[in-house]
Each structure stands twice: as C-alpha cells, then as structure tokens.
C-alpha cells in the first residue's frame, strides 16, 4: 500500500521532531571537560577543582579517597574530583579524550602506555617541576629512568609512584608435602613443576599465562633462564638469541605437562583465581596480587619470592611497568594539579598508597618505612632490587607499537607455541623482526 499525499507535511513534522529532540537533549546539564591533546592549558590560580583519573581503580579506589581527603585538608581551596577508570580501558579513554577533549588535569599513566600518550603531545614535561620542588632527589632513580625511557628518553613525563615487581608465588604446604626445596633456582623450579603434577587428581605444578598478558610473562621466564641482561644489542633485539630460544622451548614445554590445559586462555584473573582456589604449586605474577592470595589462602600456605636465579647471586627479570602520575598539558589549573601530584608522591602519601597496593614505593623515604619489611614478597623484591643481584631487562615501553606487538600481534602466536603448532624459534624470529622494525621506525622519527 503506497501513499504519496501529505509527504511534504510529514517531512516538515519529522524535521521539527528532530530539532525539538536535539534542543531538548541539549538543555540537559553537562560540561565539556577540559581540552584535547593539542591544547596548551594554563597554570591557573592554584585553587579550585581539579580532575584526577585513576588508571587502576579496582583495589586502589579506597586508598585514593583517603589520600585525596588528606590533600584537601592540607590544601584548603583545592578540590580533587576522583574518576576511577577501568584498568582495561584506560588507554582508549585517554586516546579518545586526547582526540576529542575532556582530558583530566592529573592522570595515572603506567609506563606501558606512556610512550603512546607522550607521542600525542598530551603530557607536560616535569623535569623542572621535580627539580625545583620537594621531590628532588626523593624519587627512586631506577624508576625515574624507567619512565624517562618509556617517554622517549629525553624528558620526564610522569612522576613515578610505584613498581610492582615480578614474583614467583609457591604453595609452601604442597612443597612441604612433596619434600621439595623452595624454587629459588630454575632446576628447582622445573623439578617442582614436574613433581607436583598429578593430572588425574587435578593437581598441577605450575599455571602458565597463555592468554592476555602472556608475552611479558614468557619474556620474563625466558630472560630469567638465559641470563641475557639486555633487551637490545645495539638496535637489534636479543629476544631470538639461541639462549632465549632454548629457554622458551623449555618453558613452553610445561604447558599441559605440568599445567592445566585451560591455561591456554589464562589472563591474570583466571590464572590467579585458579591458583587461589585449586591445588597448583606455583604461579608467576607480581606484587599486585599478593593481598588476593593472602585473602584466599592465608599467609601460612604460600610464599612470594623473586624469580629463580640463573646462578648464585645472579637474577634476571624483565621490567614491570612503573606506575606514575602525569600532568596533562590541556589542564586549566596546572598549579593546583601539580600540588596534588607532589602530595601523592610525598613520603607519607606514597607510603600509604604502596602499603595498600603491596608495591614498591618510588619515594625513597617511603621505601625505608617499616611496613616494607613486614610483607615478605615486597621485602624480598625490594631487597633484590637494591642488593645488586638483579639485572632488569627493560622492555621497550618507549616504542609506541609495543602494546600492539606484545598483545594483539603476538599473544595468539604464543598460544600456537604452547599448542606445538609453531616452534619457539619461529615465534621469536618473527617477534624480533617486528621489534627491530619498530625500533628502526622509532629511531627515524626521533631523528
């Protein structure tokens, strides 16, 4: 049935309806946020409201509320608006705000995403502000260098707040029952993985990360065994050196021999939940999950130690992203925002935050606080960092493509290695080629 009458009137009515709808919705309250990536912002009066985006709100929400309360009490006239952003989506939220506007004044920026944000010219260089203020010489030098390198090597774009080092968690009760030594060396690690496995009774020696985030963990195990202490040899990566290939072959061979088959899709959530709720001997993760393990298992049933040593006194670990706070260029009240950053990185607040997170404080005074020695994994990680036995292999966070290379491009490839569909050598050769190209491109852009 077709009708051509009244169409003109219908069109007018439709146009009116659209205009009315838009007008009505436009009257809804809202603000346009602050500027986009290219905006220069301003220093402001040092008073008023600032917005802070927390990049890992899940378990940090409460401690940030406390710190903000302390800050507002110490700085009357400045109000901090806290926005918790899901850790998984924080990169895309920043990217959208850089393009479209609405960036915060201060934001949590981990080293892994720093290169991408700094490359978009969204962050204020902080070297001068740090050296002129109370944070001068109060920040852990390794962490400062780590975030400086991640930001391109020249300028400091974030104030580091914490590092969450890699930890090998193991079940002391299961080790005792099996008469095994603590997995402090790689041979002991492999022996325990094998002897604690009893597939028929759903008991496994180790849980491997085969899903999201698998590459960093595989690289950690690989460099940890090979003892190669640097990611780069000149401008060529060392990932596919024969020692690394051999190490990865051995590590990947654990899959299904000493690990559950479901590990193929393990992200950290599944891996940790599996370890907390089952009878699995060992788990590689970082300090961030310590509190969850305590909650699930109690303090007596497990320990968290640094990665096994290559040989007596030599331990190699890949860098875990250093977390930090960035000051956004587009902010309209940078003076107040910087005051908040200084406060958050100060001895008391940084100590409080890291104690709650179970991480290593970036503030050197906070790192000497008594609580650091009370939590064993934090104490051992801090000791390993400071006693000269640990070589840190800096992952190439400075490459804007690193996230793509280490996630979308190569996580499925690593799953093929676990399944035996591709060899460790082929996987590492392809990874090396991609990394070398990205490094060359970065050099070229850097000039």
């Amino acid at each position: 049935m077709t009708i051509r009458t009244r169409i003109g009137r219908g069109r007018t009515a439709a146009a009116l309806a659209v205009v009315t709808t838009l007008a009505l919705t436009a009257t809804a309250c809202g603000d346009d946020g602050s500027g986009a990536g290219g905006d220069r912002g301003s220093e402001g009066s040092g008073k008023g409201e600032i917005t802070f985006w927390d990049n890992n709100t899940a378990v940090r929400h409460d401690i940030w509320q406390e710190i903000i309360k302390d800050f507002e009490k110490a700085n009357p006239g400045i109000e901090v608006k806290y926005v918790g952003v899901p850790a998984e989506s924080v990169q895309s939220k920043y990217d959208t705000a850089i393009q479209g506007g609405g960036l915060p004044d201060v934001g949590g920026v981990g080293a892994a995403m720093l290169a991408g944000i700094a490359a978009q010219d969204a962050l204020e260089p902080l070297d001068d502000r740090v050296t002129r203020g109370p944070l001068n010489d109060k920040l852990n030098k390794n962490m400062v260098e780590s975030v400086r390198a991640a930001g391109g090597g020249k300028q400091l774009f974030t104030v580091p707040t914490s590092a969450s080092n890699g930890v090998l968690y193991y079940r002391t009760d299961l080790f005792r029952e099996a008469g095994l030594d603590a997995p402090t060396t790689w041979p002991k690690f492999y022996e325990a993985a094998e002897r604690l496995t009893d597939e028929g009774n759903n008991r496994f020696g180790y849980t491997i990360r085969g899903g999201e985030g698998s590459i960093a963990q595989a690289l950690d195990a690989m460099y940890g065994q090979s003892g190669i202490g640097s990611f780069w040899d000149g401008d060529k990566t060392t990932v596919n050196k024969p020692e690394n290939v051999k190490a990865l072959e051995k590590y990947a061979a654990l899959y299904k021999k000493a690990t559950p088959a479901a590990d193929l899709n393990n992200d950290f959530t599944k891996m940790n939940a599996q370890w907390d709720n089952g009878r699995i001997g060992m788990l590689s993760h970082n300090l961030g999950s310590y509190a969850d393990h305590v909650k699930a298992l109690g303090e007596d049933k497990f320990r968290g130690i640094p990665s096994p040593v290559v040989k007596e006194g030599v331990r190699v670990q890949v860098s875990n992203p250093v977390d930090g706070l960035g000051l956004f260029k587009a902010g309209k009240n940078k003076k107040a925002a910087w005051k908040f950053m200084e406060f958050a990185a100060s001895h008391k607040a940084n100590s409080k935050w890291n104690e709650s997170a179970g991480a290593i404080p970036a503030n050197t005074d906070a790192a000497r606080d008594p609580w650091v020695n009370r939590a064993e994994p934090t104490r051992l990680a801090a000791k390993a960092l400071n006693d000269g036995s640990l070589k840190i292999v800096q992952l190439p966070y400075h490459l804007p493509d690193w996230n793509t290379i280490s996630k979308a491009d190569n996580e499925p490839e690593f799953q093929k290695v676990l399944l035996g569909k591709t060899s460790a050598r082929a996987f590492l050769d392809d990874l090396a080629e991609e990394l070398n190209e990205a490094q060359a491109e970065w050099r070229e852009q850097k000039g």
Partner: protein, 269 residues
C-alpha cells in the same frame, strides 16, 4: 509430540539448562560466600560483597543511572522507531530502497569507529558528562534495527483498517493510535525491551562520554572492579548479580511477547 518418551524431551533440556545455569551458579557462589572460602556451596551466606558494591563502590548510583539511560533509550528508540517504521511501511518515496539499504548497512559500523566524531559533537552540544549523550548515542545506534522491525509489524496490520477509521472521521494520527497501535503490542514490547537491555548492558559510550563518578553506569562500574593486577572476585560477582537482576526480570515478564514479537516482525519485510 505424542509417542515420544518424556525423558527424550527432558534429558536434553535438562542438560542444556544445567549448561546455562552453571555460570550463574558460579556468580552467585562467589557473591554469597565469604572472601577466601573455597566451598562449592554458598554457606555460610554473606552479603558483605553486596554491601561493598552497593554502598562503598556506588553501585546504588550506577544502578539509578543505568535505569535512567535504559528507560530513556527505550522510550526514545520506541517512539522514533515507531514513527520511522510507519513511514517505511505506509509511504512510498524515491529513496526508500536506498534508505532501507543504508539502515541495514549502518548495522555493520562498530560503535568504536564513531567514538571520536560523536565525542566531538557531544562536546559541542555541552553534553559530555551528561547521561543525555549516552541516551542519544544508544538511541541512534539502535534505531535502524528497531525501525526495520517495527515497519514489518506495521505492514502486517491491514491498511483497510486504517482507511475504515478515516471514513469514520479519524485523522491519520488518531487512526494510528486507535487502530494500529493496539495491534503492535508484541512488536513494541520486543523493540522496547531489546532497546532497554542493550542500553543497560552497553559499556563503551558510558565509559567514553561520562567522566564523573556520579554519572557512571553499571557496566562501567563492573569494569572498575577489575584491576590491572588484582580482582576482588566476590565484589565482582555481587556487582554481576546486581547488573543481571533487571535484565532477568525484564525477560521473565516479557518473554512471551518477545518471542511472538520477533517471529511476527520477521514474517514480512
């Protein structure tokens, strides 16, 4: 189904039900058992996780916001789709085929692709950080499918009924309200509930357009419970239950009309 033993019907259905319900049981288990418990039954029952998400993690506010977004999107989508569906069903115009094709093609555009342009438009309209932005975006993205569905329903209503109402002195609008609208109930319920559930569950627009803790919605709230290194599974499960309840209720009440609605709308394009 005479002659078929009952067990041949109930056994596969039971298995399917078990397969579907186990994940829900798992969520309830984590939500109701105390932290650190490894028991496979939620005993002793604790509501600490619900208390935590509802009060400490502002799920009461997120729930309210999601409800507002869901209901507003539902009303706007249904109203506009009704008008558009009527036009598609009853009028003939030059670009009708192209328009229908464009509606269908728009379904292939992922929301993420439109994020930055939408963000800029909403910023211009001063709508960033307003629930209005999410309602508009949700409505716009759900309109094509809803219009196509409703146009199918309207086509199934005999045009002669409308004409009879005109003869009796009704205008087009009154005839539509008095004659066509009552016959569209299954379609309206299908489209409305679909719009509500979609908006209720949608994460991306709420995450990107709302940067105020007090304006976030349930899906964003749930995502904020998952940290980079640590997850409070009890709280996450309790949040999941809170998020699932309205959807379960909606489906429990409307499932009869929903099935009728989708099958009726699918008869004729």
């Amino acid at each position: 189904m005479r002659g078929v033993p009952r067990w041949q019907i109930y056994a596969p259905l039971g298995l399917y039900l078990l397969f579907t319900l186990i994940p829900f049981y798992w969520i309830l288990l984590f939500a109701l058992r105390p932290s650190g418990s490894t028991s496979l039954v939620p005993w002793p029952v604790t509501f600490e996780h619900f208390d935590k998400v509802w009060t400490e993690r502002s799920f009461a506010t997120f729930f309210q916001n999601s409800l507002l977004v869901g209901l507003a999107s539902m009303v706007m989508t249904t109203l506009v789709a009704l008008a558009g569906g009527y036009a598609l069903a009853r009028f003939d115009f030059r670009i009708k085929r192209g328009f229908m094709l464009a509606l269908l093609c728009s379904q292939f555009i992922p929301g993420a692709l439109m994020l930055v342009p939408l963000f800029e438009i909403f910023a211009e309209l001063q709508l960033i950080n307003s629930l209005g932005s999410v309602v508009i975006a949700e409505t716009v993205f759900q309109l094509p499918l809803s219009m196509i569905l409703l146009s199918g329903f309207i086509r199934n209503v005999p045009y002669a009924l409308e004409e009879a109402a005109w003869v009796d002195g009704c205008g087009r609008f009154r005839a539509f309200c008095a004659v066509v609208l009552p016959m569209l109930r299954p379609g309206l319920i299908a489209v409305g509930s679909f719009a509500f559930v979609h908006s209720w569950n949608h994460f991306l627009f709420a995450l990107m357009f709302l940067s105020d803790q007090g304006k976030q919605t349930i899906p964003v709230g749930l995502a904020t419970l998952m940290g980079a290194d640590s997850v409070d599974l009890g709280a996450l499960a309790a949040g999941g239950v809170v998020a699932a309840v309205p959807v379960v209720i909606v489906f429990a009440f409307i499932q009869k009309w929903l099935v009728t609605g989708f099958s009726a709308g699918a008869v004729k394009g």
